[in-house]
């Protein structure tokens, strides 16, 4: 039984929610923080000179500092709030590629989510730089053989949303920096952030991105952290109010960090509520999360083997400790959409499709798969209900 279940009001609807890799459910404290701000204020930030605005600005900037501390960043001006991780990756891809030289190459891996594949591909194509897709080996680890001195940028995810596997990040960074010490390394921690502590001071990467909604926070808030010198070097992605210094017909100058990358009115309520999400995760603690997830992942793998044998094929290695609660699978030749729909009818929420990873599914030779993914609120009973619903699929489609 998870002691955190009662913090999640949405579970009162009696669903078995197994789609936390898509988005996590929201705890009471996060909902309350957003509601409190909207009920007592709801004003915008950074501009107003009246007390309500100063209060909102202080709360917004306090979240920025809390996020910075959470990821081991000493200068909160290096933390940019975006709409989500996808937008953060677009900001980085578009900005970084514009600073590259003609022979510089951009590399991603073949297991990347589309948000960490397409922006780099498009920017590279537009800027006429080589776009390289690194293969993965049998264990799902990125193969670095083809990286060379011309690889100027590498963007990879720390944790796959299909395999659940953790990349050996420290080792990868050492190896690529040995090939090119000036390489810009971007780490997509969208999946990892809810499972593994991220310390940018220790990682030796140049940027990380994640979305708050996968970290028990609200939708509409993403985090981009990058080294100050990188953020000062690359051009802004969006232009408008807040990100400018002086605007005139002949020339416009841009604001200092972080405002340079925060054009327009931000998701004020979402950012403030995100502070509560960070506090929630700190309260639960990463080791409790890891223990909970590993235990349940092991149980799920065992139960699937026991009840279905070879009829259910889990994608990737079976080590529960490194899967962080992500299990993508196929079931006989049943179409994942049908499986997910039938499970949905039984109140069991899973994901089906290619999980925004078409290149990976092409490489694996499958068109689509089902996926369950665990959060801090899941229990053994959830897994049991999932198994029972999966048996029903046989009765309907068999």
């Amino acid at each position: 039984m998870s002691k955190w279940r009662k913090e999640f009001p949405a579970l009162r609807r009696g669903v078995v929610y197994l789609d936390s890799a898509a988005t996590t459910l929201k705890p009471k404290s996060v909902i309350a923080a957003e509601q409190k701000f909207l009920e007592n204020s709801g004003v915008s930030v950074h501009r107003g000179l009246y007390p309500l605005a100063e209060e909102a600005t202080a709360a917004y900037e306090a979240t920025r500092s809390a996020v910075a501390a959470f990821i081991g960043c000493r200068d909160p001006r290096e933390v940019i709030f975006t709409r989500n991780a996808t937008e953060a990756l677009n900001v980085l891809a578009s900005g970084i590629v514009r600073t590259l030289k003609p022979n510089d190459a951009v590399a991603v891996s073949e297991l990347e989510h589309h948000s960490n594949f397409v922006p780099w591909q498009q920017a590279a194509q537009q800027h006429s730089n080589t776009f390289a897709v690194l293969p993965i080996d049998e264990q799902g680890t990125v193969d670095l053989k083809t990286i060379n001195k011309r690889t100027a940028v590498l963007s990879i995810s720390a944790l796959s949303n299909v395999f659940g596997t953790e990349q050996p990040i420290a080792k990868i960074i050492r190896q690529v920096r040995a090939k090119n010490s000036k390489m810009i390394i971007v780490l997509d921690v969208a999946q990892a952030i809810a499972h593994i502590p991220i310390d940018v001071a220790k990682l030796n990467v140049d940027a990380v991105v994640f979305s708050m909604h996968k970290l028990y926070g609200p939708t509409g808030v993403g985090v981009l952290w990058a080294r100050r010198d990188l953020l000062e070097k690359i051009p802004p992605f969006e232009f408008g109010g807040e990100m400018v210094d002086r605007v005139a017909p002949a020339k416009t100058t841009f604001a200092a960090l972080p405002a340079k990358f925060e054009a327009g009115t931000p998701n004020v309520a979402g950012v403030i509520a995100s502070g509560a999400a960070i506090a929630f995760v700190q309260k639960v603690g990463y080791s409790a999360i890891a223990h909970h997830t590993t235990t349940l992942t092991r149980y799920a793998i065992e139960q699937l083997a026991m009840h279905f044998g070879a009829a259910v094929q889990i994608i990737g290695a079976l080590n529960p400790g490194t899967r962080h609660g992500v299990l993508a699978f196929t079931y006989r030749n049943y179409h994942p959409h049908d499986i997910a729909q039938i499970l949905g009818n039984h109140g069991v929420c899973i994901r089906a499709g290619h999980h925004c990873a078409q290149p990976l599914h092409d490489r694996l030779g499958i068109s689509a798969s089902c996926r369950i993914s665990l959060g801090i609120y899941n229990t053994k009973e959830d897994i049991d209900r999932f198994i029972a619903a999966l048996k029903n699929v046989d009765q309907v489609l068999g």
Partner: protein, 120 residues
């Protein structure tokens, strides 16, 4: 609503599809797929003087897409190409008799897309 999705008619057409296979000497062929989920349909037809005298399909896909192909093939044999050209997505969904959610509408319409490609 979604309980009704896997009702008797759909499952019947899914397990016992009509017009499933290939034709000896098709005059027309077409393919369509839905890359977001892997549904793929191949259709063949014999069309003589503007009439569809025979139709067959093969493919992989979810129960909805395959049942739709079976139902549509049954409906179209003996009809004119003009009728196929005028066949609307609404009529296709009516034929399926299901209230499909936005996420499943593509599954329901793939067969129609493939069939209309036959006469392009």
């Amino acid at each position: 609503m979604s309980e009704a999705l896997y009702g008797d008619i759909i499952l019947d057409h899914y397990h016992h599809p009509r017009h499933n296979g290939v034709l000896k000497k098709p005059t027309h062929r077409a393919d369509a797929d839905n890359p977001t989920c892997g549904d793929q349909l191949h259709m063949e037809a014999i069309i003589k003087k503007g009439t569809i005298t025979d139709l067959a399909f093969t493919g992989t896909g979810c129960a909805i897409s395959l049942a739709a192909a079976s139902l549509l093939s049954e409906k179209l044999v003996g009809r004119s190409t003009a009728a196929l050209k005028k066949f609307t997505p609404e009529q296709m969904l009516d034929l399926l008799g299901l209230a499909l959610s936005p996420n499943r509408i593509k599954c329901g319409l793939l067969a129609l897309e493939t069939a209309q490609k036959l006469i392009v």
